[in-house]
Symmetry: C2
Subunit: 224 residues, 2 copies
């Protein structure tokens, strides 16, 4: 498929002192225009973009999708998403380690949401700071990959508390790592008893349908 | 080997407005007492603690080693280092995503450096924020693991600019990932032409001798 064109946006530090209020206002305006916003967070290299490619392939005939790729530098990821055939923009954070609601709003205005049912923010790769700022997203998902280890919910509690779903990615390499799926489930549920777990391989596609089923339910409940 | 006892310290946000100056002062006092401080940074789950276990096993008969394990929560890592038979403390950052020089000084005071030749700070797992703060360390090393991908120097430039050495960990799983060692070398050198690369497997021990050789040279140049 031909790569779509995309813009690279240098976003500015947010001017809102009250991020929670700015996030609530953004969610209300998204509700009004029937756009669902998903915030995707993880460590660097856990497979956010590959997971989005798989998700887009399964959902792009049902929803009009737009993706914001946030990175400190480079436009590697926006190229990949643009090749997946949906609307994409690259956000450069100017060294900042997270996005807040004001920065997310800047991104959405550049993306244009009037023709988007499902907007996706791929946050900066970081398991700490992005969890501290409500972006205005309707739902948050974290991706933890098998090579990172099952102890991460013990060390980075807030990320697992603020997410409604947790994707365990790279299950195709489970035989090569000391990763205990029962323990990661126990530790994640200890942080957040209602979190939904989706073990997947974004490389092979295994498990991605279950994740997309959950996401479809969330989007439909918001836009219909 | 029996696990040594260790303390858990809740470190406070630093009061120094001028972190660079506090870092220079800390380095000067470390020089005076002949203690080398190594700052180890990486994403969550790239193998900092396992790399330190391998490093300690090779160097603990030559140097008196003390390790500070920084995490937002948990004391999993300090247990592991204490089992390796060297002095260890766990630093809790109270949600903070990095350590600065003032926080590092608090940690060193709790660790006690009068009987330490080689002090090691295992920074919070984060490829963004820790790179922004000089901790007062003599040398910085970043660890990038194969599953994270070779594009990370493009996306997180500062981390690769501030480090003198880059460990590429988990080379034992190279066959299972699309990781290009030539490209990571090219991208890292683009950010920092003098950075030294050490491909290792902290799991099998492959390549660790070369890394320890480099570290030995740095420590000897500082303390002798």
């Amino acid at each position: 498929m031909a790569e779509r064109e995309f813009k690279v946006i240098e976003i500015k530090q947010s001017v809102f002192a009250d991020n929670n209020r700015a996030a609530d206002e953004l969610r209300a305006s998204l509700k009004g225009q029937r756009t669902f916003l998903l915030n995707v967070m993880s460590s660097p290299g856990s497979g956010k973009t590959t997971t989005l490619e798989q998700t887009i392939a399964r959902l792009k005939d049902e929803y009009r999708i737009g993706v914001m790729e946030a990175d400190i530098d480079s436009d590697v990821d926006a190229h990949r998403i643009a090749r997946a055939g949906v609307k994409a923009i690259q956000l450069h954070t100017g060294g900042m380690c997270h996005l807040d609601a004001g920065m997310t709003r800047q991104g959405l205005e550049e993306l244009g949401t009037e023709d988007v049912d499902l907007a996706i923010l791929e946050n900066v790769g970081n398991l700490v700071c992005p969890a501290e700022f409500d972006t205005g997203a309707v739902k948050n998902v974290a991706i933890l990959s098998v090579p990172e280890g099952h102890d991460k919910p013990l060390k980075y509690p807030l990320m697992f508390e603020v997410c409604q779903a947790l994707i365990i990615n790279k299950i195709d390499v489970l035989p090569y790592f000391d990763f205990d799926m029962d323990k990661v489930r126990e530790f994640a549920l200890m942080r957040n008893p209602s979190i939904k777990l989706f073990p997947i391989s974004a490389k092979t596609g295994e498990g991605v349908d279950a994740w997309c089923g959950w996401l479809r339910e969330q989007v439909d409940a918001w836009i219909k």
